[in-house]
Symmetry: C2
């Protein structure tokens, strides 16, 4: 079965996020001052070929831990949807 994984990798809440700060300033400069608390991370989508959802979850988790996220600075989460 194929599963589509939607992965978000975001800077840890405890850390400053200079890119988010820059976006917040940019939004203020174009007149959108109702926006605050901007954080910028990565969004990764991928297709996983696995026997069942548990196996696909294990693969997605390993991909996040070993390649996509730096656990010192980033937190990740993902959702899996079976493809038709």
């Amino acid at each position: 079965m194929k599963f589509k994984a939607e992965i978000d990798v975001m800077p840890q809440d405890a850390l400053l996020d200079p890119q988010g700060k820059a976006v917040a300033n940019g939004l203020k400069n174009i007149g959108l001052s109702a926006v605050e608390n901007v954080r910028v991370g990565k969004h990764v989508t991928l297709l996983i070929d696995a026997a069942d959802k548990t196996a696909a979850e294990a693969i997605a988790d390993e991909a996040c831990r070993k390649l996509l996220a730096n656990p010192v600075m980033e937190a990740y989460r993902f959702t899996l949807v079976e493809q038709a």
Copy 2:
């Protein structure tokens, strides 16, 4: 009211995504060969202060169009959740 926006900005489907290609190769190199079709984009979260959900949607859409996404190369989508 405050709304939390979760925004995904992804490369257009019609375009090659070299960063996704690099991640796919990296995953194969660490033994995760069941993964394909990797695409890498941005995930942005922000808090919007607005009178109602329609107003918050308008602000989020403007932020995407004017600052966060380059419409030539990227597509965006977002969800809004009211904060307690």
